[in-house]
């Protein structure tokens, strides 16, 4: 069996796949890769199924030893290391791979041919950190952890991905949104004109934004209701929060807008200090953009 030894875990590295759907009624959000586009492409590079589990590194990569060697690829944000991004590489036995800080983006996926093998929890290998489930013991990796690699797939490696496709899938800083359920509570002009700064407090649960405080009408109280990935909530302090992959499943704050499905992967590459803004589009347009994006994977 192939193994990966964790010499240093990096800042915050977890096992992620495409998450677990269907557990909303018991309060469990899907979790899964913060940038699913990068995970899917990385897996293709090494010949895995798109949703195979990989290591998601955040802002600072780790140091990993491959005692038996193996084929790997790095996908997503550009982190300092000795192998090129978006390219499958065969590592010889006993190879050490050092991955440094992010030069651009926030998350980089280390995809291994065979995938990371951890016991599935509710059908997924994804780590849900707040509730401590999935992944490796429900937590980020630590120094000394040993991960198992799954059986080698039959599909061949894809080698590289065309620069044209990568360009079209590049993370965006202007995020397209559709109206949220309480959009009429707010001034759309104010929201869509503002350049927001991504706060240091952002994580996989929510991306906190800093900008001029938005005014909430009539004290802003509402009955708790379901909330979903990409919803932009405005709590009492008027600073928007984008609900992210480890989101709570219900919430009591009004939602001005929702990031469209096609732009969710871009959220995974936002880093503290980034400046972003929003652009309102219609639902039909959002669906068209998603179809066009999905066609790039065919």
């Amino acid at each position: 069996m192939r193994l990966i030894e964790v010499q240093s875990p990096g800042l915050f590295t977890t096992v992620q796949d495409l998450g677990r759907d269907g557990f909303g009624p018991i309060g469990v959000s899907p979790s899964g890769a913060a940038d699913p586009t990068a995970l899917r492409l990385g897996n293709r590079l090494v010949g895995n199924a798109e949703g195979a589990a990989a290591l998601e590194m955040t802002l600072l990569g780790g140091t990993f030893v491959f005692p038996q060697g193996g084929m790997i690829a790095l996908a997503g944000g550009d982190f300092e290391t000795s192998i090129p991004l978006w390219t499958a590489r065969d590592l010889p036995p006993a190879q050490t791979l050092r991955i440094g800080p992010a030069r651009s983006g926030a998350r980089c996926y280390l995809c291994v041919r065979g995938g990371i093998a951890v016991p599935l929890v509710m059908g997924s290998a994804s780590t849900h950190v707040m509730s401590g489930l999935g992944g490796l013991e429900g937590r980020p990796l630590r120094k000394g952890d040993v991960l198992r690699v799954g059986p080698q797939p039959l599909t061949p490696s894809k080698g590289t991905i065309s620069p044209g496709v990568l360009q079209q899938l590049a993370p965006r800083k202007v995020l397209r949104t559709t109206d949220g359920p309480q959009h009429h509570w707010f001034s759309a002009n104010e929201f869509y004109r503002t350049v927001y700064r991504v706060s240091e407090d952002s994580n996989r649960v929510g991306i906190r934004l800093q900008g001029p405080a938005m005014t909430l009408p009539n004290s802003g109280h509402m009955i708790t209701e379901g909330v979903t990935l990409g919803a932009i909530q405005v709590p009492q302090n008027g600073q928007p929060v984008i609900l992210f992959v480890e989101q709570q499943t219900t919430g009591g704050y009004p939602k001005i807008a929702n990031v469209i499905s096609a732009d969710i992967p871009s959220l995974g590459q936002l880093r503290p200090g980034d400046e972003i803004r929003f652009e309102r589009i219609e639902i039909a347009e959002a669906r068209r953009l998603l179809r066009r994006q999905e066609a790039l994977f065919q």
Binding site: G22, G24, P25, G27, E225, T249
Partner: protein, 183 residues
């Protein structure tokens, strides 16, 4: 009904007090198709035989280090801690929905006399199993998280365990009774 007779393209359901959020895959279905599927379900409501709710008893250690806000709650209502416990343990609650974090059940049926607003400042860390009050709701934190509910006790039961047959101890519609534990 949407759970047992799945409609193509539905990815997740988020029920709450008086709403149901449906998350779907826009590549497999659209708003119009879902709306008609949901309307069909609503039309069949009357013919659905609802199952008799089960009653779940949850042991609680009220007060002391397990319920740091019990005395404050009592003071606010001008009654003793013992009376708060008696009132809280006398009621039968209903699970309205689960949300927030895995296995967190929102329980309705709190006696009005002990309904209490959330704490002014939320705690950074509420221990797993803590029993809280917020307004006229009560509920148990299944895992240790930040939280603003008034904590009056704690259960030794695991409210949520992913690899158990019933991952969440409570499900929507369950009746709940709290049983005070003595030393």
């Amino acid at each position: 009904m949407l759970e047992t007779g799945p409609v193509a393209g539905i990815r997740n359901l988020h029920p709450a007090y008086c709403s149901l959020l449906i998350r779907f895959d826009p590549l497999r279905t659209d708003h119009e198709m879902l709306e008609s599927a949901v309307c069909d379900c609503v039309e069949q409501f009357d013919s659905v035989v609802s199952i008799e709710p089960r009653t779940v008893e949850i042991p609680i250690r009220y007060g002391d280090e397990f319920g740091p806000d019990l005395e404050d709650v009592a003071k606010l209502h001008g009654i003793t801690s013992k009376e708060v416990v008696e009132l809280h343990a006398s009621a039968t609650y209903t699970v309205y929905f689960l949300g927030f974090v895995p296995g967190f059940a929102y329980l309705g049926g709190l006696p009005e006399k002990i309904a209490t607003p959330r704490r002014q400042t939320p705690r950074k860390q509420v221990p797993q199993g803590s029993l809280g009050i917020a307004g006229n709701q009560t509920g148990i934190y299944p895992c240790s998280t930040p939280g603003g509910w008034q904590i009056i006790g704690r259960t030794p039961l695991e409210m949520f365990r992913p690899n158990r047959e019933n991952m969440s101890l409570l499900s929507i519609g369950d009746r709940v009774r709290f049983v005070p534990l003595c030393d």
